[in-house]
């Protein structure tokens, strides 16, 4: 048990190390000096001012130090939760921008992931071996899972918000609403939250339904299912066992799908001008605000690693075989 966790933690630690190193290395590997880019944005006319500014920035960003020291300081400031300062939203720190944006993204992502997983598994299991449902739900699922996240968001926004005015076009709440812990404000939040959520939910749902349907069919074809059937067990019982076995790969799949649905959330936010991390990244990219991009990248890495670890633990709880297998020291 302990060995299994140590191994997993080692991989996650290594991943974090690699990610931070890459995050630090990319600006240094790329041609061009970020400070020069910054200078050209500021457009200081006086050469003396420009010279002073240049030196100030070089010192401020530690760019005058040897590389290994820069790398070390990167880790030190990261340990202090210091991800730098935004250029476009000066003097807001990148950490504060992330802290403001992350709740919106998580509020979209977590319900979308969990509900789509649950609903997709249920529908997929029902569709297996049920011709009518299979013939309708399966093609729909394939269409959904092949849809680019932003396009479904565009369609929903255009039809439901722009044409029919059922939902708001964007933003997290009405600009006139007063932020308070009242039902009026919360319902306003939910009203704005629904369309981006639905968009994410639908695309993710398709993938889960297909996966579950295929797994159930595979399990129903397996020896234990046939044996149970031959013993005279009711079909319902056989399906129940098949479902339990088929859920396990879906849990692993959850870890694999995190990255894709996360990128989906980022672009969905852009379509709906929803003020989460994706919206911030979009603005940072169009304004070349590199510290924000790098900071959000690190935040996403940490989030995904934590999520992976939680999924590992859930898998352990759900599958007794892993637990028993690990007592023997195998991973």
């Amino acid at each position: 048990m302990l060995r299994y966790f140590m191994r997993k933690l080692f991989v996650y630690g290594l991943t974090f190390f690699v990610a931070v190193t890459v995050d630090w290395a990319i600006p240094h590997l790329m041609p061009g000096n970020p400070v020069l880019a910054l200078m050209s944005r500021i457009q200081a006319q006086d050469p003396r001012v420009a010279q002073n500014l240049y030196q100030h920035y070089m010192r401020a960003f530690n760019l005058d130090l040897p590389l290994w020291k820069q790398y070390w300081y990167f880790w030190v400031s990261l340990a202090h939760g210091d991800l730098g300062t935004s250029i476009t939203q000066f003097p807001a720190s990148v950490s504060s921008i992330i802290l403001h944006a992350a709740p919106y993204t998580l509020g979209l992502l977590l319900p979308a992931i969990l509900l789509s997983w649950y609903a997709g598994n249920k529908v997929g299991a029902l569709a297996a071996r049920r011709k009518v449902l299979d013939n309708s739900a399966l093609p729909l699922s394939y269409a959904l899972t092949a849809t680019p996240y932003m396009w479904l968001a565009i369609i929903l926004s255009w039809t439901l918000a722009v044409v029919w005015h059922v939902f708001p076009v964007g933003f997290a709440y009405d600009p006139t609403a007063i932020r308070s812990f009242s039902w009026a404000f919360i319902s306003n939040l939910l009203y704005h939250w629904f369309l981006p959520f639905l968009s994410l939910f639908l695309v993710a749902f398709g993938g889960w339904a297909i996966g579950m349907r295929n797994m159930i069919i595979y399990e129903l074809e397996s020896d234990y299912a046939h044996y149970l059937g031959a013993l005279g067990a009711p079909q319902r019982l056989v399906r129940k066992y098949a479902f339990r076995n088929a859920v396990l790969p879906q849990i692993t799949g959850l870890a694999l799908a995190l990255g894709a649905i996360l990128s989906g959330a980022l672009v969905t936010e852009i379509v709906f001008s929803y003020p989460g991390l994706g919206f911030q990244i979009y603005h940072a990219i169009t304004n070349e605000d590199y510290f924000v991009i790098q900071g959000i990248f690190l935040f996403i890495i940490i989030g995904v690693l934590v999520a992976n670890f939680i999924i590992d633990i859930v898998y352990l709880i759900v599958d007794p075989r892993t637990r028993i297998g690990m007592e023997g020291g195998r991973s």
Partner: protein, 310 residues
């Protein structure tokens, strides 16, 4: 093809041999595969849509009467025959048809290169790890796990953000280099199951090199699997590229389907009801990727006899 089931039609030139039980195993295997392939509606459906779109991507640009990035004088025009703007124009007067076929081409290019590179890396890593085992496997497995856990899209974001000039090739290469892990893992497991088979032992005893064994003995035994893996990687590469382009990190000096969607959203095409601008690009991506997925299911049924009777 006629409705008659597979009759022993594999007749050699000599008529006297017709009555012999033909032991031509690979030939009959191929015929059998073809027999089921031509009757598989999923495969035919997916294949025909993909082929149609591919032909459109190849020949469509020749019929465009405007450059994809040229600003015309007809602004926000509905689809019309006027001036050859069959798909209408953007808010700035650019021809949507020209942009669309250009983007379609780029999508196939990104899919082929990105999917191809991902498949190649997955094969090298998966075969080596599965065949060698031991310490090599440990190291490669660790590498696979690290790349698997990293949200590669976020990684691509950071890399692309720092590139001042972005090309379609660099985009495809980066996508290929980050999207291989699940395929490598699957190949490693498949290789494991084949390595202990007798024919691999025979090859080893006959003194073949590891590379020969991998590419002559092991790989051909999962050729169908490799092909299906490539199709999936192809589709994923197109989706990743579209997402990257939409977020503003698309190739410079050209226009992709993702960039079309980005520009339409940015220019409030939704609020202005310029549906001909934002509907085609997403629909095309959905059609390509969806038909690839359906084709994949069809291929699975063709190659895997267990799934056929359904």
């Amino acid at each position: 093809m006629s409705a008659a089931p597979t009759a022993p039609l594999a007749s050699p030139t000599d008529p006297s041999q017709v009555e012999l039980p033909a032991p031509a195993q690979p030939m009959s295997g191929l015929r059998e595969t073809l027999h089921f392939a031509l009757r598989n509606t999923k495969l035919l459906f997916g294949l025909s849509i993909t082929t149609a779109l591919l032909l459109f991507a190849i020949f469509g640009p020749f019929f465009a009467r405007h450059g994809p990035l040229v600003y015309g004088s007809d602004l926000a025009l509905r689809p019309t025959t006027h001036g050859g703007h069959w798909f209408g124009t953007t808010l700035q007067g650019q021809d949507v048809y020209a942009q669309f076929v250009n983007g379609l081409r780029l999508a196939f290019i990104v899919g082929a290169i990105g999917g191809g590179i991902a498949a190649a890396v997955a094969m090298v890593v998966g075969f080596t790890a599965g065949y060698r085992g031991g310490a090599v496997d440990e190291v490669l497995n660790m590498l696979t796990n690290v790349v698997l856990v990293i949200p590669t899209f976020a990684l691509l974001l950071v890399i692309a953000a720092y590139l001042s000039v972005r090309g379609i090739l660099t985009e495809a290469v980066f996508i290929g280099l980050t999207s291989w892990p699940w395929a490598a893992r699957a190949l490693r497991a498949q290789t494991f199951s084949l390595v202990s088979r007798d024919f691999v032992d025979m090859a080893r005893l006959s003194g073949r090199s590891s590379r020969q064994i991998i590419f002559r003995e092991i790989a051909p035994n999962m050729s169908s699997y490799l092909f299906m893996m490539f199709i999936l990687l192809f589709g994923t590469a197109i989706l990743i590229a579209a997402t990257l382009d939409f977020i503003g990190l698309g190739p410079s000096n050209t226009i992709s389907l993702g960039q079309m969607m980005q520009l339409s959203v940015q220019n409030a095409a939704l609020q202005l009801h310029l549906w001909w601008w934002f509907l085609p690009p997403g629909l095309a991506i959905m059609a390509i990727v969806g038909s690839l997925y359906v084709m994949n299911v069809g291929l699975d049924e063709v190659f895997n006899p267990k799934l056929r009777e359904m």
